[in-house]
Subunit: 428 residues, 3 copies
C-alpha cells in the first residue's frame, strides 16, 4: 500500500494533537488573561446566547453530518475534535487582532467568537466529509481559522462592512474554502460514486437532531454579536426568515421530485438556508416582510442547488461536495451578501446609520476570493503524502479510523482488552 494511504494514525495523529495542545497552552500562558476581575452584567447576560451557539456547533453541525450510513462516529466525533481544537486556536487568532498591552482578554464575547470561528471549519468539513483523515482535519482547522481571522479582520475592521450574522465571513467563507479544497482533493476513483455514500433510515433520523438544533438556535447565532439595542430585532428577523424558508423548502422539495415526494436531504439542509441568508442584514430594519422574502428565496435556491447544481459541480467541475455545503452555506451566504448590498443601496437603517453598499460588495468579493485561494492552499497541504488520507475504497467508512463493533457490536469499552467474550450479535 502506498504511503499516501498509510492510515495507521497511532503516532502521527497522537503526536500532532499533543504538539498542538502544548503549543496552545504555551501561547495561552503568555498571552491570555481574564477580561476583568468584575464581569459586567452585560457579558454574563450573553451566556444563554453563547450556550445556544455552543449547542449548534457541537450537536447541530455534528449530528447534521451523521446521515451517512457508516460514518456516524467520524461525523459527530471528528466534528467534536475540530471544534475543541478550533475554539482554542480561534481564541488566539482572533485575539491577536485585538490585543491590549500585549495581552488577549477573554470573556463570554470572545468565547462566542471562538465558537464562530470553528463553524467555518465545520462547514468546510462537510465538503470533504468521508474522504479525509483526522490528521488532515487537524491541519485544516489550524490553516482555515488562521485565514478566517485575517479575512474577518479585513471585512469588519478595515472595510467597516456589517455582517452580524456572518452570512459572508462564516458561511460563504467556509463553503467556498471547503469547495476549493475539495477540488484539489478530487478523487477520479470516486467519480462513479461509492457504495457507502448513502444514508439509512436511522442515520437520517440522527441527522434531523442536528438540523433541528441548528434551526432552533439560529436566531441566537445571528443575534449573539448584535448591538444590544438591536438584538430583539435580529432575533425576530431570523425567526421569520427560518419559518418562511422551511415552507418554501418543503414546497420545492416536493416539486422537484418524482411523484412529489419529499426528500430528506432537502429537509435536513435547505430548511436552514433562511438563517444563513438573513445573517448579514438580520439587525437591519428590513421588517419581517424583508426577512421572509430573503428566507423564501434561500429555501428555493437551496433545493434547486441540491437538485441541479451539486450533480453539475461533481460531474463537470470535479468538485465533490459530500454534504452539499454549497447549497446550505455557499449560495445562501452569497444571497446574504447581496441582500446586504441591496439593503445598503436602499438606505435601510442599522441602528442610527445604514451600511455602505460599496463596502458590503467589497466584503463579499474579498471573502470569496480569500476563501477560494485559502481553500486551494489548504487542499495542497492536505495532499501531502503522509497525512493518513483513506484509499478510495475505504472512504465514508468509520472503521478506518475507529474501533467499530464487528457486525455492529463491540464489547463495552472497559473490556477492550478481553477478547474472549467478544461475541457477534446476529439479531441486530
Amino acid at each position: 500500500m502506498p504511503s499516501a494511504f498509510a492510515t495507521n494514525m497511532r503516532f502521527k495523529f497522537s503526536i500532532l494533537a499533543i504538539f498542538l495542545e502544548v503549543l496552545i497552552i504555551i501561547l495561552f500562558g503568555i498571552f491570555v488573561r481574564y477580561e476583568n476581575t468584575q464581569p459586567t452584567t452585560k457579558d454574563i447576560f450573553l451566556y444563554p446566547f453563547f450556550q445556544d451557539v455552543h449547542v449548534m456547533i457541537f450537536v447541530g453541525f455534528g449530528f447534521l453530518m451523521t446521515f451517512l450510513k457508516k460514518y456516524g462516529f467520524s461525523s459527530v466525533g471528528i466534528n467534536m475534535l475540530i471544534a475543541a481544537l478550533g475554539l482554542q486556536w480561534g481564541t488566539l487568532m482572533q485575539g491577536f487582532w485585538h490585543m491590549e498591552a500585549q495581552k488577549i482578554n477573554i470573556g463570554i464575547k470572545s468565547m462566542i467568537n471562538a465558537d464562530f470561528s470553528t463553524a467555518t471549519v465545520l462547514i468546510s468539513f462537510g465538503a470533504v466529509l468521508g474522504k479525509t483523515s483526522p490528521v488532515q482535519m487537524l491541519i485544516m482547522t489550524i490553516l482555515e481559522i488562521t485565514i478566517f481571522s485575517c479575512n474577518e479582520h479585513l471585512v469588519v475592521k478595515v472595510l467597516g462592512a456589517t455582517d452580524t450574522g456572518a452570512s459572508m465571513t462564516i458561511h460563504a467563507f467556509g463553503a467556498y474554502f471547503g469547495l476549493s479544497a475539495a477540488r484539489v482533493l478530487y478523487r477520479p476513483g470516486l467519480k462513479e460514486g461509492h457504495k457507502n455514500e448513502e444514508s439509512v433510515y436511522h442515520s437520517d433520523m440522527f441527522a434531523m437532531i442536528g438540523t433541528l438544533f441548528l434551526w432552533l438556535f439560529w436566531p441566537s447565532f445571528n443575534s449573539a454579536m448584535a448591538h444590544a439595542d438591536l438584538q430583539q430585532r435580529t432575533i425576530i428577523n431570523t425567526y421569520f426568515s427560518m419559518a418562511a424558508c422551511t415552507l418554501t423548502a418543503f414546497a420545492l422539495s416536493s416539486l422537484v421530485e418524482h411523484r412529489g415526494k419529499l426528500d430528506m436531504v432537502h429537509i435536513q439542509n435547505a430548511t436552514l438556508a433562511g438563517g444563513v441568508a438573513v445573517g448579514s442584514c438580520a439587525d437591519m430594519s428590513i421588517y419581517p416582510l424583508g426577512a421572509m422574502l430573503i428566507g423564501s428565496i434561500a429555501g428555493l435556491i437551496s433545493v434547486i442547488g441540491f437538485k441541479f447544481l451539486t450533480p453539475f459541480f461533481f460531474s463537470k467541475l470535479k468538485i465533490h461536495d459530500t454534504c452539499g455545503v454549497h447549497n446550505l452555506h455557499g449560495l445562501p451566504g452569497l444571497l446574504g451578501g447581496l441582500a446586504s448590498i441591496i439593503a445598503a443601496m436602499a438606505h435601510v437603517k442599522l441602528g442610527e446609520t445604514s451600511p455602505s453598499a460599496p463596502m458590503q460588495a467589497a466584503a463579499l468579493g474579498c471573502t470569496i476570493g480569500i476563501a477560494l485561494v485559502g481553500g486551494a492552499f489548504a487542499g495542497l497541504v492536505l495532499n501531502l503524502p503522509f497525512l493518513g488520507q483513506p484509499p478510495d475504497e475505504n472512504c465514508y467508512n468509520d472503521s478506518v479510523y475507529w474501533e467499530v463493533p464487528a457486525e455492529e457490536t463491540r464489547p463495552a469499552g472497559q473490556f477492550g482488552d478481553y477478547g474472549d467474550h467478544r461475541t457477534v450479535n446476529i439479531n441486530m
Copy 2:
C-alpha cells in the same frame, strides 16, 4: 385507484404551500411591525424561556411522535412543517385580536404565543398521525390555529379566566379537536389494527429524546407568559408536579402490566401529564404540596387512560387516537381545568387576587365545546377527496410521501439523480 387516494403530492402540496407562504408574506407586509425600536430589558429577558418553548415544539413534539417504526420522517418532518407554518399563521391570528393603530406589533412575547399556537395543531396531529397527508395537515394547521385564537381570546379576554400554563386552551383544546377530527376521519379498514402501527427498539429510543426535552422545559412552557413576579413560583410548581407525576407514572405502569414490567408508552407520555395538569394553576399559591398532588393524579389517570380508555375509544367510539393524546393532553388538561376551579373556590391567591370559579368553569366548557365542533368541522374538510389521504394499507408508512432508502438505504442526497451507484445494503 380512486381519487381519494391520489397520494401524488407534486403539484397540490407545492402549490398550496407556496400559496400560503405568499399570502402570509403579503399579510405580514400590510400588518406586522416590530414592537418598538428600543426593546425593553424585560422582553429580551424572556428569550431563554422562548428558546426552551421553541425546543419543545420542534424537538419535543417532533421526536415524541417518532415511536412508530416506519413513520419517523413524517413525525419529525411534518411536525417541523406544521410548526413553521403555524407560527407564522399564529402570529397573524393572535395579532388580529390585539392590533394597535391597525398594526400587529411583534416581539419575544408574540413569538412565544406564536409557538404556543402551533402546539395545539401538533397535539391534534398526534391523534391522526399516520393516517393523513401533508396537504391535509397544512389545511388543518390553518383551520385549527384560527379557531384556537378565537377560543383563547374568549377564555382570556372575554371570560377573564386564568390559564397561564394553558392546560385548557392548548392541551385540552388540541386533544379534543384532534379526537373529534379523528372520529370523522375514522377508517373501518383499520379496525383490526395495522402491521406498521408498532414501534421498534430504536424508534422508542428516538421518542425518548422528545419526551425528555418536553419534560425538562415544561417549567419554561408554563412560566413563559406568567407575570414576572410569579414566574419563579410557576417554575417551582411545575418542577415538582413533573417529578411527582413521573414517580406515579412509573409505579402505575408496572402495576397495570403483566409481570410488573414497565411500558415505554407510559414512560414516554404519562410522565409528562403533570406538566399539563398543573398548567392552569401553576402561578397560583398552591404550594409544592398542591403541585405534587396534581402531578400524582395526572400520572395516575394518564396511565389508566392508556391502558383502558384508549382501547375503549377505539373499539366502541370509533376514535383511533394514534399517539394517545387523550391521555397526555386531554384528561390532564381537564384535570388542570378542574384544579383551577377548585383552587378558585378555595380562594387560592394568584398575585393579589384569586380567580373566579364560575369563569374558570365557563372557560373549560367553552374550550371543550369549541374544540369538539371545530375538530369535527376540520375532519369534514380534510375528508374532501383530493387532499392526498393515504389508503389504509399505506398508513403509518413514510414511503407514501417521502423518498425512503430502499432496504433502509438511500444514496446520499446530492446524487439523487445518479441512479447507477444506488446499492442495497443488506447488512443493515
Copy 3:
C-alpha cells in the same frame, strides 16, 4: 428460581414507589415553602443555568448510558426515575440542613442543588448498570442522597472547604460510592463477561447525544453555584479545560489502541474528565493556562484508566464498573481535589481570599471515606434477597423489567391489550 431472582416487580416496585411519593408529599406539606413571595431578579437570573444542569441530568446522564445494545430503555428510563425521585428527596435532605423557622424555603438555587444531588446517584448507577433492578435503584437513591447531603454539609459548612464545581462532593463521592457498592454486589458468574455487555453502532450514536449535552453544559454545572462575581471566570476556566481535555483524550485514545484507531468509549467519556477535574478550583484565579493543564491531565488519566485500570479493577479487585465511572468521575474527581489543595498551597485567589490547603485535604479525605463506607452499606442493603435483582444471564437486558418489542417491534402502546395485530417485522 430462588427468591433472590424474583424479578416480577408488579407489586414490590409499585408499592415502594407510591409509598415513597406519599411520604415525600407529606414531608413537603409539613416543611416546604416558597422562598419568598417576590423573587429577586438574582434568582430568576439563574434559571438558564438551572435548565442547562437539568438537561445534563436527564438527557446527558441518561443517554450517556445507552451505549449497551439491549439496555437503552433502562439506561434512559431508570435514569429518569432516579432523577425524578432524587430531586424530591434531595430537596428535603439538603433542606433539613438549612431550615429557617422549621421550614425549608425553595427557589431556583434549591432546585439546582436538588438536581446536583441526583447526579451522585446517577454516577453510582453507572457503576452497577445492567446488574440491578428498579426496586434496588429506588432504595439506593434514598440512601445515597441522604449520605451525600451529610457529607456535603460536612465539607462545605463544617470544614469550610471550597468545591464549587463539586469535583469532590459529587463526582468523587458518586464514583467511590458506586464502586464500593459494585464490589459488594460482585457476581462471580459474570467474571468471563456477558454477551450483552456490548454496544452496537446505533447505541454508540445515542450515547454521543448524552456526551455532547454533558460536554456543552459543563460550564453551567460548575458555575451555577459560584459567586455571581466569579461566575464568568468559572465558565471560562471550565470551557478551556474541556477543550484541552478533548484534544488530549483523542490523542491518547489513538495512542493506546492497536493501529492508532479511536475508541468510542474514550470519546464518550474521557472528553468529559476536564469538566470534572476543574470543578473544585473553577472559580479560582487559575487562569486559562491552569484550567487547560488540569483538563489535559484529566483527559490523559481518564483514557489510561479505561485502558489499564478498569480491567485491573475487574480481574483483581472484583469491582465491575459497567460504565467506567472511576475513569470519568473517580480519578478526575481526585485530581480536582488535589488541584484545589495545590492551588490553596500556592495561595491562588478565590474572590478576596484563598482556600485553606488542610481543609481542602480534609474535605477530599472525608468524601472518599464516607463514599466508600456508604457505598458498601448500600451494597449490603441492595443484596437483600427480595429486591428483584436480575439473574446473571439476564443482566444488561431491558426485557427483564420492560415490555420490549418482540424481534425489535412492539404494538404502538395504546393497543397494548390487542394481541391480534402484533406482528413480527423481519426487515428491521
